[in-house]
């Protein structure tokens, strides 16, 4: 069964400052538990804000580091999950369920990509 990496892209500018609501966290927790029990979820986590991140670049044979926040990008990766599913359709279906746990004011795009040789 192939593995898929879901990169969860959020708009840091417009996400609620106080973070996800307790109700959202509860719904998401229940879904993650369901996915773990179903043997689908291998790993998932949210990421700290980009203000705490650093971009390390290799270009022209030189290393350069840029500290966050990365204000030039509208959407940044706010979390990820690795699922093991029968096929991409199944991974996408679980992704839809993840998105539906959110309130309507959220704007999130999840990119589902197969891990090569997964």
């Amino acid at each position: 069964m192939p593995r898929y990496l879901s990169m969860i892209r959020v708009d840091e500018q417009n996400a609620p400052a106080e973070g996800p609501s307790p109700e959202l966290m509860e719904r998401m927790g229940a879904l993650i538990e369901e996915m773990t029990k179903a043997g689908v979820m291998l790993d998932t986590a949210g990421l700290a804000p980009t203000s705490e991140g650093t971009r390390v670049t290799w270009s022209g044979g030189k290393i350069s580091c840029t500290d966050g926040p990365f204000t030039e990008s509208k959407e940044v990766i706010g979390g990820y999950s690795i699922v093991q599913a029968k096929d991409k359709a199944e991974a996408v279906e679980w992704t839809k369920r993840f998105l539906r746990t959110h309130e309507e004011f959220w704007n999130i795009t999840v990119e589902v990509r197969e891990i090569v040789g997964g």
Partner: protein, 406 residues
Amino acid sequence: MAGTVETVFRIESARIIAGVARIVRDVGLAEELAQDALVTALERWPESGVPDNPGAWLMATAKHRAIDLVRRKETYARKLAEVGRALEDVSPPDPADLARTAEDIDDDLLRLIFTACHPVLPTRARVALTLRLLGGLTTEEIARAFLVPEPTVAQRIVRAKRTLAQADVPFEVPYGDDRTARLSSVLEVIYLIFNEGYSATTGDDLVRPALCEDALRLARVLAGLLPQEPEVHGLAALLEFQSSRIAARTGPGGEPVLLADQNRTKWNRPLIRRGADALQRAGHGPYSLQAAIAACHARAIRYEDTDWTAIAALYGRLMALAPSPVVELNRAVAVAMAEGPAAGLKLVEALAEEPALKDYHLLPSVRGDLLERLGRHAEARAEFVRAAALTRNARERALLLERSSG
């Protein structure tokens, strides 16, 4: 649209069948009702759109049908009673059925697993039924995985459902001593499915990874349902570790790659980590011990780092707990690595007359390997030829013949 319906159904089918079986008390009938719900979804969703919670929709639809069916049976039974016949033993459905907690759903799933693996069924039927009802595999997929004709599998499943109905097997999770015995049947079925994929006994492919993944998923589901059973975690750990090596076990041409020669960077680290986590919760039973052995291999960054002394000791404990000639053969290999080929060969020689290993290709294969290491090349070659004649797997035969030609 059909794609979405089928995907949702594949994710949900085991839970739907389990939930419905609790009402109708018949897994065969439950599966039909679940299929009916799928057909209804295929008809309706293209017009109405996919509901927000498609799994719950399918479950509710299937359960409504089940309750209707039970009510019709009840009415029928009442009419029978009116004309003086015995009332059928059908308990009325609980109205709270449609709003049930996750724990109840877990109970239903467990009941389904224990029923599909019931000892009243022959082993092959348990395997087929488990893959069908819990793994969500089609008859065609099961047939392909086991290299048997599709009608054979279909027959096996039909007969298994009939046997369960006729034997009046209760849809329940057993308790007490019965539970221990039945649980070992469940674990055995999952392990059999995994092994069929991991060391395909016949055919041209050495590994059928899809079957391994199905078994691994079943083991994970079972570990989630029975968190207090150490052996379930032992089996889950074992399968995570074994699965982590699949990519390294075959070469580019599909030929087997021995443990010593495997590219360990191809071992799947996240699965190893999951295996180690599951092992923490495992116990001291046969699967847990095998998982501990697999963990020793996983911990060795290079083959030379393998702790063979620990592995030999673990095989010793396994022999004490669940003695078998195959385990003793594995112990011999570990002893040979820890103490030298002569010590291993002594243990292998003791197995020479073992009837259970008469046609087991790994006995001459291991013997050949040890003789080779002792410099007894002519004898080693003869053993490899014998081993090649015994294996039914084409890839393995090629490897053994290559070794026999020195």
